[in-house]
C-alpha cells in the first residue's frame, strides 16, 4: 500500500472542500472495500478523508411519507431498523443477503452504493483491465468470466456490480442525495450507476469531490408482496450469480403494478421498463412471469463460462415473482427456496 495523507472531515462542507480539486483524494467510511483495494494496489489514493464522524447516521421520515437514510448508517443498522423491517422488508432482506455480519457492521449505506466490482482481473494489477487502467484491455472477455455480466456489456468491460442492497434500492426507486462544490442535488437511482460503454472506469455519475449524504426511499415499500432471491455458489457470504428483488401491487390475482431488478447480471442493478409494463393488468401466474423473463433476457449475451446465467436468470425471475405473489419471500437464514 502506498503512503497517504490522513485527514478528518468536520462536516459535509469540510469533506467536500478537502476533496475539491484533488483527483487523488478518497473518502473513507466503513473502509471494507477501499482498504481491501488499497492493499491490492488497485486504489492508490494520496489523501484519505475520514468521514466517519459526520452526522449522517439518522433514519428519518420524509415529508412524503418515505424514509431518509443517512449515508453513514451501517448496513446492519439499516437492515435491523424497525421501520425498514416493517415497511421495506425487501431492503432489509437484500442487505442481510450480502457480505458477512462483521462486514455489515462496518459497511456504510453510501459506501455500499460505491462498491467496486469483484472481477478477478480488476483486482489483479498484473492483468489488463479497462476499469482499473483505461485502454489496457478487458481480460475477462476471453478469460474466466463465470461471475460476469450477461446484460448491458460492452467491448471494454463485462464486470458486474456486486451489491445486493442496490438491487432492492433500484426496485424501490430510491433517490440519492449528494453534496458537492456546486451545491446539493438528488439523483434518481436508475441514473446513479452507469453501464460500462467505452468508459468502464466510471461506475457512477457522481462528480469529482461529490459526497453521498443520504438515500431516500419513497413511501411505497411493497411490504406485502415482495422477495429478494439470491443464487450463489455458496449458501452464504458469496456474491450473487443472479439475484432478483421484486415488489408487486396486486388486486386479487391481477397485477396492478409490478417491479423487479436483477443483480449479478450487469454493470448496474438491471431494470427493464418494457418487462415491467408487460406485468401490468396481467394475472400473477407462471405464464405471465415467463413472458416477462423472456422480455428482460431478449438481448442477453453469455460468454465462455457464464452462459448458464441466462437460463438461471429466467428461472430466478419466474421464481422470485412467484414468491412475491404468494407472499412467501425468500428467507436469508433458511436457504430453502420455495
Amino acid at each position: 500500500m502506498i503512503n497517504f495523507q490522513y485527514a478528518r472531515a468536520n462536516d459535509v462542507a469540510d469533506a467536500v472542500r478537502q476533496a475539491a480539486g484533488n483527483a487523488n483524494a478518497k473518502f473513507i467510511a466503513g473502509g471494507t472495500n477501499l482498504i481491501d483495494l488499497m492493499k491490492m494496489d488497485v486504489e492508490r489514493p494520496l489523501k484519505v478523508i475520514d468521514i466517519t464522524r459526520l452526522p449522517l447516521t439518522q433514519v428519518q421520515y420524509t415529508a412524503e411519507g418515505g424514509l431518509r437514510i443517512g449515508a453513514l448508517v451501517r448496513n446492519t443498522d439499516l437492515a435491523y431498523h424497525p421501520l425498514v423491517e416493517e415497511r421495506y422488508p425487501v431492503l432489509a432482506s437484500a442487505v442481510m443477503a450480502g457480505a458477512s455480519q462483521q462486514l455489515r457492521n462496518m459497511a456504510s449505506t453510501g459506501g455500499n452504493l460505491l462498491q467496486r466490482t469483484r472481477c478477478h482481473y480488476f483486482y489483479d494489477v498484473a492483468t489488463g483491465c479497462n476499469k482499473r487502467e483505461p485502454g489496457s484491455g478487458c481480460s475477462a472477455i476471453e478469460g474466466h468470466n463465470r461471475m460476469h455480466a450477461i446484460l448491458g456489456t460492452s467491448e471494454a468491460c463485462i464486470a458486474t456490480h456486486p451489491s445486493d442492497m442496490c438491487v432492492a434500492l433500484a426496485m424501490l426507486e430510491a433517490k440519492i442525495h449528494v453534496s458537492g462544490a456546486s451545491g446539493n442535488r438528488v439523483i434518481p437511482f436508475a441514473e446513479f450507476h452507469r453501464l460500462p460503454g467505452a468508459t468502464p472506469q466510471r461506475d457512477t455519475n457522481l462528480n469529482a469531490s461529490e459526497i453521498i449524504t443520504a438515500v431516500e426511499l419513497p413511501s411505497n415499500g411493497f411490504a406485502t408482496n415482495y422477495t429478494y432471491l439470491k443464487i450463489r455458489d455458496r449458501l452464504s457470504f458469496a456474491f450473487a450469480l443472479v439475484s432478483v428483488a421484486v415488489g408487486l401491487d396486486l388486486d386479487g390475482d391481477t397485477i396492478r403494478e409490478g417491479r423487479f431488478a436483477l443483480g449479478g447480471v450487469a454493470h448496474k442493478p438491471w431494470r427493464d421498463p418494457e418487462a415491467e409494463a408487460a406485468l401490468r393488468g396481467q394475472f400473477a401466474n407462471p405464464a405471465t412471469f415467463t413472458r416477462v423473463a423472456d422480455i428482460v433476457l431478449r438481448d442477453a449475451r453469455g460468454y465462455a463460462h457464464n452462459a448458464f446465467k441466462i437460463d438461471l436468470a429466467r428461472r430466478c425471475i419466474v421464481r422470485a415473482l412467484t414468491q412475491a405473489a404468494r407472499r412467501t419471500p425468500q428467507s436469508q437464514s433458511s436457504k430453502k427456496i420455495v
Partner: protein, 156 residues
Amino acid sequence: MPEEVSLSLTVNGTLHTLKLDARTTLLDLLREHLDLTGTKKGCDQGQCGACTVLVDSRRVNSCLTFAVMYDGAQVITIEGLASDGALHPLQQAFIDHDAFQCGYCTPGQICSAAGLIAEGRARTADEIRELMSGNICRCGAYANIVAAIEQVMGKS
C-alpha cells in the same frame, strides 16, 4: 516518508496512546504494537474472520480498518473475554464441544459468537450458521462450533 498519526484507544480495559504509520490496521496495531497476538491474521482481506474483534461492542474484521479511524474506541479481543481467571462461557463451551481442531480460527470464532449473542438476532441453528458465515474454519469444525454457541445461548 510514511504519514504518522496519533491515536488513543482502549483495548481490554487499558488505554493506549500511540503514534503510528497511518496505514496500520487495527489488526496490526493489536498484534505488532500491543503484542496481543490472540487475534489472528488469516486472509487479511475480510474474507476469513480470523481477525474478528469487538469494537464498541460490535464484531468487525480488524484487518479491514485503519486503526486511526477508531481513535477513542473501546476494543475487546480474545484476551479480554475471560474475567478474574475464569473462562468466558463461550471459551468453556468451545472446549466442551471440541469446537476446533487446529485452533487458528478459534479467537475469531469466539469473538464473532460473542457479537452474535449480543446482537440477539439468532434463535435457530440456521440463523447461527448464517450469522457466523463470516468465520471460516478450514478444519471443518462447524457442527461443533454451532453446538458450542447453542449451549451458551441456552444458558443466557
